[in-house]
Amino acid sequence: MSVPVLEVQELTVEYVSDERAVRGADRVSFTIHAGEIFGLAGESGCGKSTIANSIMRLLKDPARITHGKILFDGKDVLGMDEAELRAWRWNNVAMVFQSAMNSLNPVTRIGEQFVDVIRTHRGGTRATAMQRAEELLKMVRIDPARLRAYPHQLSGGQRQRIVIAMACALNPRLLILDEPTTALDVVVQQEILEQIRDLQNELGFAILFITHDMSLMLELSNRIGIMYGGRIVELAPSRILHHDSRHPYTQALLGAFPPLHGPKVKLTGLAEGVKFTNVQDLEDHGDGHWVAPTDQPVLSQGEAL
């Protein structure tokens, strides 16, 4: 657990236009260790996907990384040239996108898309790549015959599992899951999460898990960072975060989801118009619990800010 796979240091991403620059991520720092599941949670637009895309260097104009470092196994990702980057992508870090439903090329067979990525990185014949694709499909419990199918012939859940299988194709050390289940219903969500957990046990990769769904997040992650307005406001092991959150935004986020078990609880959230501006750097609260200091009062259970 102690070997860091990914270190993000003071990452700042700006969306630059002619008139002004908006910070999509602001001095974000976190570390993901080998085999760990690290969660990033927060509302829409808080910068979760920006972080995911900058780790793989997939940011498009007008977004650019203006400050900070991304180290993968100690190697500087931001310093890689095009060829290094291509070889590194998917081989070491694979990603399941927010809309994995549309992540597959609609005009080529599923099998071809596996072969494409396997042969680009590993070489070998078409037949061996196909064989590997069959194994991968079996791992996510999809009939290998479906390799002959086109994406539109599969259900949303199947497509999502195929993308996950594809992400495992090269045994990456880190898997980025950017809201992998948002477009799916709750039952399929559970199946997929189950599968991700199984795959992780089997293959031992680390996961960066991004979602706004706190119940999913608490269920899956070892450690969680809560983002707000491009900054991390609280970072803690999930057990501590669940029961002993210190930042009012974290509490509001947790309060916005009904617990699946136990007595009825009144849902709470941020009151109208509450905003956190100028979020300070995190302070150590012990046991790996880091919180950004704030003037806003800490909430007790069931109370709106």
Partner: protein
């Protein structure tokens, strides 16, 4: 498969409808086309010709239903009757002598324009805002908006008259015997260059812009981002992922263009005195050559339908999603 059969059925139905219209049109027109033609040609036709014309156009007063079936039978055996303006050549022969040249000119220029235009569009969209993307579209649209005959005459003046490097007229040099030998083929190619080039020049912009715009939309699709994350080579993403999806609308418009080729490129044929269907059709209209006009309309209809069917065939290969349609 059932998709293609259904399409085929639809095209056969459409073809039957156009034959029927072709049969009905002379009957629906006020007056008698034969009489009008006679007044135009100042009674220079023989009485048998007049009779033949009447029979051909179904205006000889016979009952309409048997006439209709007789007409259908003649059409299906390729008998379109006699041309009036080039009497006594059968209409099918007149068309057959012009069609190869029209097809040669039309297909050559279309294929070049489509391939070149799409490639330019792909590259421009891939490097959006780059050099090619900023220069090519405005330039090509500028050229494309010249009146075609002006451009064609300009080209003919510069290359044909001033520089004398291009042949001035016809599809091959006078006195050359058509045959499958190198001399003849080279001569035909030399005569083809200028007409084809001018057509390519004016149509290139449309193909390029169409492809560029679809491609830009495709480039923001999630599967392009995923392909990038997969670490694939840029040219592979550009061709197999982006262009492969973006080319679908292009295929449709190419199919429609193939169909209309058979109608001939009238202006090109006039300026370069190139033998072709367009020129012939103009002659038929001016000479009130009804049988020839009817024959040509049917040929054009058939060509459009066949081209559409070809597009369906190709489309099924390119886009798996329409197979169930």
């Amino acid at each position: 498969m059932s998709f293609l059969l259904r399409r085929l059925g639809f095209y056969l139905l459409a073809f039957w409808a156009s034959i029927t219209l072709n049969f009905l049109l002379p009957r629906l027109m006020p007056g008698d086309p034969v009489t009008r033609m006679l007044s135009r040609s100042q009674q220079r036709l023989e009485p048998q010709q007049v009779e033949a014309l009447r029979t051909l156009m179904g205006v000889d007063g016979g009952p309409i239903i048997p006439e209709y079936f007789a007409y259908l039978g003649r059409i299906l055996t390729g008998d379109f009757g006699m041309s009036i303006s080039r009497f006594p050549t059968p209409v099918s022969e007149v068309i057959a002598s012009q069609l190869p040249w029209t097809l040669l000119l039309g297909l050559t220029s279309l294929i070049i324009a489509v391939i070149l235009g799409n490639l330019l569009g792909i590259l421009a969209a891939w490097r959006r805002g780059g050099f090619l993307d900023s220069i090519a579209p405005p330039l090509l649209v500028f050229i494309g908006s010249f009146p075609y005959f002006w451009l064609a005459m300009g080209a003919l003046y510069i290359f044909g008259i001033s520089m004398g490097v291009a042949p001035m007229r016809h599809a091959f040099s006078v006195g050359l015997v058509p045959g499958f030998n190198l001399v003849f083929i080279l001569d035909v190619a030399a005569h083809l260059i200028l007409p084809a080039l001018t057509i390519v020049l004016v149509s290139l912009g449309g193909w390029m812009l169409g492809m560029r715009n679809t491609m830009i939309a495709t480039n923001s699709e999630d599967y392009i981002l995923m392909a990038e994350a997969k670490g694939l080579r840029p040219h592979r993403i550009m061709l197999n992922y982006a262009a492969r999806n973006a080319m679908l609308p292009s295929v449709t418009s190419m199919g429609m263009s193939i169909g209309f080729i058979v109608g001939g490129a009238l202006l090109t044929e006039v300026v370069f005195a190139y033998p072709g269907v367009g020129y012939q059709l103009l002659g038929a209209v001016q000479g009130l050559d009804y049988p020839l006009m009817q024959g040509m309309f049917l040929t054009i209809t058939a060509a459009v339908l066949i081209a559409n069917f070809l597009v369906d065939l190709v489309y099924v290969r390119l886009d798996p999603r329409v197979r169930k349609g």
